[in-house]
């Protein structure tokens, strides 16, 4: 059951992460078209090859409903497969497997997966404050009848930081907590970012002391263990084996995937320290007929250092409770023995809203297609990619393999 591995990533485009204040402002439709154009060029394909579209629904600027129709019309394409994905940071990974599944079902040949994440220009009479107001409660609903509005917000439970912090505290109580091992995740990834021309923290090296000396946000998380939101956006073209054969680059075939959504608030998890990627990765590896030790790199969704630790353990790279030791014993840089987030991860590359998850997908493609200039792994055929939405609420896993 699952994918036969007949669909592949053949091209990608990603805006350089930039601070919101200085990034260009573009309509989301405009970004979709621009990113599609760049990704098609990367693949050596033409607009007319596209017959599928997967896009984000939430936070799409020009529409809240009928987003695929509006985007397809703007692009000037007709599609046999149109889909909106609403899985937060897991959206990118979720878009890829949906595209691959649609292709393997014979619905379509080439699918544009896209998330615009630069700000749109303000209307002449638009109050710039509205966005800050709208974003105030982050991913928390304030709607009447929403459980989190009624049972979380009145106590101050809001946002991602404290949710991830509580997961880390629970982990610490069960398995122990080695602050310097956790900081090393950020440090090794920062090393990688020095070799990616677009990384937002390129040129700023980091030490374990820097991380542990940075401001504590919510115990035990320091500010340098938390991603920085940036403006950006990304697109990936997933195509059939036949189309991939005429693409410019070495395709990255999607040979396994898994997805698991377990809760909205981790407070209601069966076990806060066992994350949904456990199920997702098991399914993905099983589908691909591979195991974690077969991977040449791991591109693990990293909104926080704790996300990386739990994902490494739950995806099966290291037994539960031994992740911190593993991190200390291994060099996680692209030059090391366990290449992790070889672009710097979102912690050092920047997190462009839900398009941030594409940074991991695209890095996997770059490594497999031999396009990771300056940080290219040798003989990189098999890459594990994970995506994480909400507060470990929903996670996805991909196995990508060079063809």
């Amino acid at each position: 059951m699952g994918l036969a591995g007949n669909a592949a990533i053949v091209g990608a485009a990603q805006y350089k992460p930039e601070k919101y204040q200085t990034a260009p402002q573009m309509f989301h439709l405009e970004q979709v078209a621009d990113l599609a154009h760049q990704a098609l060029q990367d693949a050596g394909l033409h607009k007319d090859d596209l017959d599928g579209l997967v896009i984000n629904g939430p936070q799409f600027h020009e529409a809240s409903v009928f987003v695929p129709a509006m985007a397809a019309e703007y692009l000037g394409i007709e599609v046999n497969f149109a889909e909106v994905v609403d899985l937060g940071g897991c959206t990118a990974v979720a878009q890829i497997w949906r595209a691959a599944a649609a292709i393997e079902m014979g619905l379509c040949q080439a699918v544009l997966c896209v998330i615009p994440a630069r700000m749109a220009p303000l209307a002449p009479n638009e109050d710039p404050a509205w966005m800050a107001q709208a974003m105030r409660y982050g991913g928390h609903s304030t709607a009447y009848g929403a459980p989190e509005a009624e049972f979380d917000l009145p106590y101050g439970h809001m946002g991602q930081n404290t949710g991830y912090a509580m997961i880390a505290q629970r982990y610490a109580a069960q398995y122990g907590y080695d602050k310097s091992a956790m900081a090393k995740i950020a440090v090794d990834q920062r090393f990688n970012a020095q070799y990616h021309k677009d990384a937002i923290f390129r040129g700023k090296e980091l030490s374990i002391e820097d991380v542990l000396g940075s401001k504590l946000v919510a115990d035990p998380l320091h500010v340098l263990e938390i991603v920085m939101p940036v403006a950006g956006g990304a697109a990936v073209i997933v195509a059939s084996k036949e189309v991939a054969a005429r693409a410019k680059k070495r395709p990255a075939f999607v040979t396994g995937f898994g997805e698991r959504l377990s809760f909205k608030s981790p407070s209601y998890a069966n076990d806060m320290t066992v994350t949904p990627v456990a199920e997702a990765a098991k399914r993905a590896f099983g589908m691909a007929g591979l195991s974690p030790k077969d991977m040449h790199a791991a591109q693990i969704y990293d909104c926080y250092t704790i996300t990386v630790l739990l994902s490494l353990e739950d995806a099966g790279f290291v037994p539960k409770g031994e992740g911190q030791r593993f991190i200390k014993e291994h060099n996680l840089t692209w030059k090391g023995d366990f290449p992790l987030n070889t672009h710097g991860g979102q912690l050092s590359f920047g997190q462009a809203a839900s398009a941030g998850g594409f940074s991991q997908v695209i890095e996997a493609f770059d490594q497999i297609s031999n396009s990771a200039q300056g940080r290219q792994l040798k003989g990189c055929d098999n890459v594990f990619v994970s995506g994480t939405g909400g507060v470990m609420s929903e996670q996805g896993a991909l196995i990508l393999q060079g063809g």
């Binding site: 009848g145 509005a149 009624e150 917000l153 946002g159 930081n161 505290q169 946000v217």
Partner: protein, 311 residues
């Protein structure tokens, strides 16, 4: 007493939970089909989807499942509780509740520690949040404490509210009007002077003879904007004075309405109330809802939601 922190809005489904807290009880739902305990409140069992649920009183005892200490407020409104000990408590029935721990020293907080409910009265009206504390602490009820209580007063009797005291600032938004100000007369001479100053000399304000026949009011009326600015001549006894700020800026108005006319010769008076207090990166924003009435008229002649920014 309004607190501008987000407050729970009970629904038909959850009302028994909040009502029980008001009565210093923890009630959660249990399924009659599978005996499973359910939290947060639902119209169905989260274990078997049965609709056959009953509200049961429970002890409110449990253990600390996890927690964090907020070193940066999750929302500006919580700056007065810093650091908050945000917590997940697992009740003895196995369900988990998002809450905060109170009255426990940072170093004494341990995952797995036994905790018990505290009924925290967060408003004068008895609205109650469910917090938790160490079982070794006394008392299951935290009574409402008016944040303005105990603050110093100036020689006018106004309570002194430092701009840094967020709890007290929020407590100012209590939706009660001040007593009436002094009264002043708006006569034709004043209206004429304003007409000259502003250039608005429309006959409805300035020509008593024509107004007698042509105006629906049968007399001249004051400019709405004249009455608006006359608020400076009305001494309104605000019960508080905000202190400790560097600058105070009139930030404009959220709403300006002239619902009733002010005929020449009217006596006007005013009153106000604090409509809203909010905190942002810009500073503390206090919205004063100012009403000016013609004496004897219940309908205000001016409603002005004045925004004042302190920083």
């Amino acid at each position: 007493m309004a607190t501008l922190k987000p407050m729970p809005q009970a629904t038909k489904i959850s009302a028994p939970f909040w009502q029980a807290l008001k009565e210093n009880q923890v009630k959660i739902q249990q399924c009659n089909s599978c005996d499973g305990w359910v939290f947060f409140p639902r119209n169905h069992c989260s274990h078997c989807l049965s609709h056959d649920l009953d509200w049961k009183e429970v002890s409110g005892e449990g253990t600390l499942y996890s927690y964090t200490l907020t070193r940066i407020p999750t929302m500006p409104e919580f700056a007065d509780e810093m650091p908050q000990a945000l917590a997940v408590v697992e009740l003895a029935q196995g369900v988990r509740v998002n809450t905060t721990l109170i009255d426990v020293a940072e170093e004494d907080i341990k995952v797995g520690m036994p905790v018990k409910a505290v009924f925290d009265k967060v408003s004068k009206d008895g609205e109650t949040l469910l917090r938790f504390t160490s079982v070794s602490n006394d008392g299951g009820v935290r009574e409402f404490k008016d944040p303005l209580e105990g603050l110093e007063r100036n020689d006018k009797g106004q309570v002194q509210v430092p701009v840094s005291n967020l709890a007290a600032l929020y407590a100012l938004a209590d939706n009660e009007f001040t007593p009436w100000s002094n009264s002043i007369v708006v006569d034709q001479a004043l209206i004429n002077a304003f007409a000259e100053l502003s250039g608005d000399d429309y006959w409805i304000h300035t020509d008593p003879e024509r107004a007698k026949t042509d105006s629906p009011f049968k007399t001249t009326i004051a400019h709405g904007s004249l009455v608006q600015v006359l608020q400076s001549k009305l001494t309104i006894a605000l019960p508080f004075e905000i202190t400790g700020f560097q600058t105070m800026v009139n930030y404009g108005s959220n709403r300006l309405r002239f619902p009733a006319p002010v005929p020449a010769g009217s006596v006007i008076k005013g009153r106000s109330k604090v409509q809203d207090v909010s905190v942002s990166h810009k500073g503390v924003q206090v919205t004063l809802e100012m009403h000016i009435h013609v004496e004897g008229n219940d309908r205000p002649s001016v409603i002005n939601d004045l925004v004042i920014l302190y920083r």
